[in-house]
Symmetry: C2
């Protein structure tokens, strides 16, 4: 059994916990939290919640620690810290800092004989490796990534900070016509506006100036000003009934040629449609934890991403199973 | 430079040759053929065609031999033979014999310190690893593979063998409504007929009995009897003008749940749309040759499939490139 620890207990951690429960080759050993452990109720019976500060005592009891904090404030500190003691998996997604994070984690991991997989999930993660596969096979092609339809938590939070807004949910929606052009072999240069639209459901305070709120949303720099954004005001009840979930998804489409004269066009498309973004991401992290354990057992140390993991390491199947049922 | 040899020179080999030409880290060293070398005209200037029997003399001049023969009669003999001397890549796709082929290749490769990747291409190959990824992340889900729209060479050949048929081209067409059901999260059990239809373009001899030909096609056991098949008679000119290509493609759709109560559904879809099946397959084999070379350099021997290859090995990019541009 691969012994798993979970650091942090938000939505992503709940996804990891559920995936570990479903994995016959894994067991959850402990959950760690910076909150008061007594206030953290987990789903797995017989497993305890400990203060994050006690994690180091589990050095020999946990094979892989899955770090479920956020990229903005947690992971750049946590992954280098915990990789001193454990093999680690994180979902670091701050693109401009990924090289720095990689180097920092690698140095500590190599010094301690541990292995960490960073930036796992679906983007970065599954979408990243699909970009790698596609460009390996059709080098010099054009790759496009579309996100949605799905809830962007960052954009939802930004709307919630506007005066007079009680609650908000922002959906990112890919422009179907733009995707169709790529699927048909075209390789256009899109503006930001041409690829995605944004749709905001807002619960406003009674008497709030809805025109001002709408204007503040659609003109918000970085978040909305480069998009066509629709704002719809709804009741708190409707928000709860219809927009409680965190669905997401997206598609990577790579278009490239083969043939001595580039005479043949080819389109490779990888698409996700997820009822729950954090639970799916948690499932990805769990399969990566399996791979990290196996690669660590083979003596691999340092820092890797999903591009460094052979697919067979991710799945709980024998070589014979794979040859018979997956090829 | 990775030194590539090509064994056999049909459509697939032309695809490998074109892909090697486009790969800055590879050079084509030699093409081998069982035909009279003087009769084989290849595209790459300065590269010679040799009799297959001379391949063994290139033991130290070729890093990876890409075997471009067919599964039916060539590869079960060729891969174990040539892996005595070379790292090899093949596209073996006779599913019921894959375990036997794997074991035979593995034994010879291990005895000779070489590495072979078998069953590479898109199905088996890219579709296989997508089944692995999806089932690793969403274990216990339902996976569906649809092929087409594309030309099935085996079915085209079967029609050509019918008396009175001069030429034929058979297209396999996935049933759009069936795919939509899977994309919407349903997990039905389909009959063969419900997943694909078949469409045959036939050039008949003058005065041939078209009703008999049609009847022989649509009732042909194993090939057509379990499908809804449409037969259309066309002229030789129309065949040449509109059906000379070998387009193909298909889709793997995996539907599975996350959450402690399996409350969230997720759909993962991987789709290919290829102007030329053999040229795309040749491009896949070429990227696998790169991976085989690199893994062999690291001391790996034996037999692998694409499920054993980390994506980063397939592409001619540095770790820094991958972190910056693909994550």
């Amino acid at each position: 059994m691969i012994r798993i620890g979970i650091m942090g207990y938000g939505n992503l951690a709940r996804g990891v916990e559920a995936a570990v429960t479903k994995s016959e080759d894994m067991e959850l050993v402990a959950v760690f939290s910076r909150r008061d452990p007594a206030s953290v109720k987990i789903k797995t019976e017989g497993v305890e919640v400990y203060p994050a500060s006690e994690a180091v005592n589990f050095k020999d009891k946990i094979d892989v620690m899955v770090l479920c904090g956020g990229s903005a404030t947690d992971l750049m500190g946590q992954t280098p810290e915990y990789v001193q003691y454990f093999n680690c998996v994180d979902s670091f997604d701050t693109h401009v800092k990924i090289m720095q994070h990689y180097e920092e984690v690698k140095e500590v991991a190599n010094a301690n004989g541990t292995l960490a997989a960073i930036s796992c999930g679906w983007d970065p993660g599954l979408f990243s490796i699909n970009r790698v596969y596609a460009d390996a096979i059709l080098p010099g092609g054009s790759v496009y990534t579309f996100w949605g339809k799905g809830v962007s938590q960052g954009h939802s939070d930004a709307v919630r900070r506007i005066e007079g807004v009680i609650d908000a949910r922002q959906y990112t929606i890919p422009v179907e016509a733009a995707m169709e052009r790529i699927r048909n072999g075209e390789t256009p240069e899109f503006t930001t506006r041409e690829k995605h639209t944004r749709y905001c459901y807002v619960v406003a305070e009674e008497g709030a100036d809805k025109e001002r709120i709408t204007s503040e949303i659609v003109n918000m720099p970085n978040y909305f000003d480069e998009y066509d954004t629709t704002v719809e005001f709804i009741s708190a009840e409707e928000m709860k009934a219809n927009h409680s979930g965190l669905p997401h998804g997206g598609v990577v489409i790579h278009s490239g040629t083969t043939g001595q004269e580039d005479q043949f066009n080819n389109v490779i498309e990888y698409k996700l449609n997820l009822d729950s973004n954090p639970f799916f991401t948690g499932s990805v992290l769990t399969s990566v934890a399996r791979a990290v354990y196996r690669m660590s057992q083979e003596g691999r140390t340092g820092c890797i991403t999903m591009a460094d993991i052979a697919p067979a390491y991710l799945i709980n199947k024998t070589t014979e199973d794979l040859l018979h049922h997956y090829m």
